[in-house]
Symmetry: C2
Subunit: 360 residues, 2 copies
DNA sequence: CTGAAAGCGCTTACAG
DNA sequence: CTGAAAGCGCTTACAG
């Protein structure tokens, strides 16, 4: 059943009352052209914000568009432009809260633009990883894709997207690409803040559990942490320098190793919150109390950080804002591809809660 | 730079060597028609699995399609069919792990089909809630949308989608629609299992913190819990019957109320895991140990359930499978709209961990 | 069972 | 600054 409004709209114009046009579906560019008494091409110019339209004509067309709530059909535009009104989010991040936050940020930017967000989780180690993405991009021709860590760090992926002429933005803790394609997060600075925080509380035996070597962020956080310790004249002892996998289970394992050392650390900085919660578990198992026997600081400030007990001190990166900025950049590339984009940078902040205190 | 393979492919055919056709972009239906020596309409029939093609012709066309890795342009098909090759996921569920799980389930079903998943978080209480969805559906014409709780429970939304002739599947704990549009979860059965579990451990003073009344699942879980208690000859005392908001903070608040009662419960069943973690917090604050002083059971079996300490007993719903089945149903509706779909049902299972034990 | 024509709703050169 | 024609890559009636 077609909405009655369309029928009345179309017949409201000077059309012969004898043969009213059938009202099927929403209005098209032809309807708007007729109603505004211009050619469809002019309507198209207005839609695409071409400067080659008189102010008067533009105003008239825009009024008709607004009045009838006309929205150009994205399928038709996409076919003609060879670009879908879709932004892809390609990720292999295992943290649900990270993923959802980034999605919501991207959607913040896309709201009201007519662009939709298509999600593409993937496995960077899968043999057909690049084939899948090639198929997606070739088939759908998205207006752009957002690459958060760690897919953002994949040089072959970036090459592929460049080859396919698919705009992309890489969110990463190191600058891997030109400015317009980069959202830079100063992971190292956040980790340094964590080191200074623990040192200033009076800790001297401070350990670190870093993420997997396949994540640049893991390296950056470790590097920043060591730099922060150095600022306070401290070093990261080799025995206190552990590598895990950004997962809960791996955090438990490495924390257990640290806490059963002959001389155990009084503080542990984990490369993300999941591992930090793993540290909680290991401490509990060994009868150690947080923060009395052990201070813990995480990274990401995931929801779980404020839900565990005691509440976890953590380094916060504004994930949602990062997603928003990345999507905005892609929209900008889609409309004005030539304008050189500025480098966008985010610096994380330490959120001190109850899991870090002076050593007993 | 066009991929060289296309050029050679196109010129490989009996085309005059003098004027080779320009090779721009991927192959189209016309290329395939020429290569298979049929009309484009026949290629279209093969793509759309029309029965009106000889086996021989079909085989020949399919061979050419496979050989060249041809994929029909979804924009063009969408324009002609008035349906985008998109499946929407419309949700207002606040739990990241729930959302990501459901997305991944839907993507399991869409993998290899050429359909993409578009995510549409929303706020059911926002004044323009329905307008936003109307705009989305009218503009993009998705092949279907998945509605998990609580948007699945919104009658106005279902009416709107029916009016717009947009196929949908509702995932809900009560049957709100016809079979083909329903994925039914027996939330009540899972809650009953939790009640029986606690009763069989020897608990008699058992409390419940339910979700908000705007979620049918909250009602179903409470109903099932009461039924489970009744199976063991127990009742849910009025003072032990609390309503919260499916959030951590609301869980803390109601748990605190329960645990400061003159006669406090020895077990609490929370309507979801977030609130159960809130119960942990309240118990800790009051110096109560889990499970010695208090047993706790949650619902959802979110990742956090196995990460908190002690590990949380919880009722597990196979969210990912639910998302997959919902998407499969929509694909089925898109291809064969007339086939009556069966009702799909999921029954949750209790995962007993360390947070529930016999009362001391 | 197969095909030539027209159309889906837009945009891109090309004129004027 | 504006428009008529052709085209994007498919599918839907309509013939045969």
């Amino acid at each position: 059943m077609p909405p009655p409004s369309h029928k009345s709209l179309r017949n409201g114009l000077a059309s012969p009352p004898v043969a009213p046009e059938p009202a099927r579906g929403p209005l098209t560019i032809n309807d708007i052209a007729r109603l505004a008494d211009v050619s469809k091409k002019t309507v198209s110019r207005v839609i695409n914000k071409s400067p080659l339209v008189t102010e008067e004509t533009r105003a008239r067309v825009e009024a008709v568009i607004r009045e009838h709530g006309y929205e150009p059909n994205p399928q038709a535009r996409g076919l003609a432009l060879r670009r879908a009104f879709l932004i892809g989010l390609i990720y292999d991040n295992p943290s649900p809260s990270y993923v959802v936050n980034m999605q919501h940020g991207a959607l913040d930017a896309l709201a009201g633009t007519g662009f939709e967000l298509v999600v593409r989780p993937c496995d960077r180690r899968a043999p057909d990883f690049l084939d899948e993405i090639r198929a997606f991009v070739t088939r759908q021709r998205p207006a752009g894709v957002i690459l958060p860590p760690s897919v953002s760090e994949d040089p072959a992926l970036a090459r592929l997207l460049a080859e396919l002429e698919c705009p992309y933005v890489r969110i990463a803790s190191v600058k891997l690409d030109r400015k317009a394609r980069t959202v830079l997060t100063h992971d190292a600075a956040g980790a340094a803040a964590a080191a200074v925080h623990l040192a200033d509380l009076g800790h001297r035996r401070i350990a670190h559990i870093s993420g997997p070597s396949t994540f640049r962020s893991a390296h950056e956080r470790r590097r920043g942490f060591i730099a922060g310790l150095a600022e306070r004249g401290l070093e990261l002892a080799e025995a206190y320098d552990k590598v895990a996998g950004y997962t809960y289970a791996s955090g438990v394992e490495q924390a257990r190793a640290l806490l059963t050392l002959p001389v155990r650390p009084t503080a542990i900085f984990a490369g993300n919150d999941e591992m930090a919660v793993g540290v909680y578990r290991a401490a509990h198992d060994l009868g150690l109390s947080i923060p009395d026997d052990l201070s813990v600081v995480g990274y990401d400030d995931a929801p779980i950080a404020s839900q565990v007990w005691p509440a976890l001190s953590s380094v916060r990166l504004p994930i949602r804002d990062m997603g928003k900025v990345a999507a905005e950049r892609l929209l900008q590339l889609a409309t004005a591809p030539d304008e050189a984009g500025e480098l966008v940078e985010f610096t994380p902040t330490l959120v001190a809660r109850d899991s870090s205190a002076a050593p007993r």
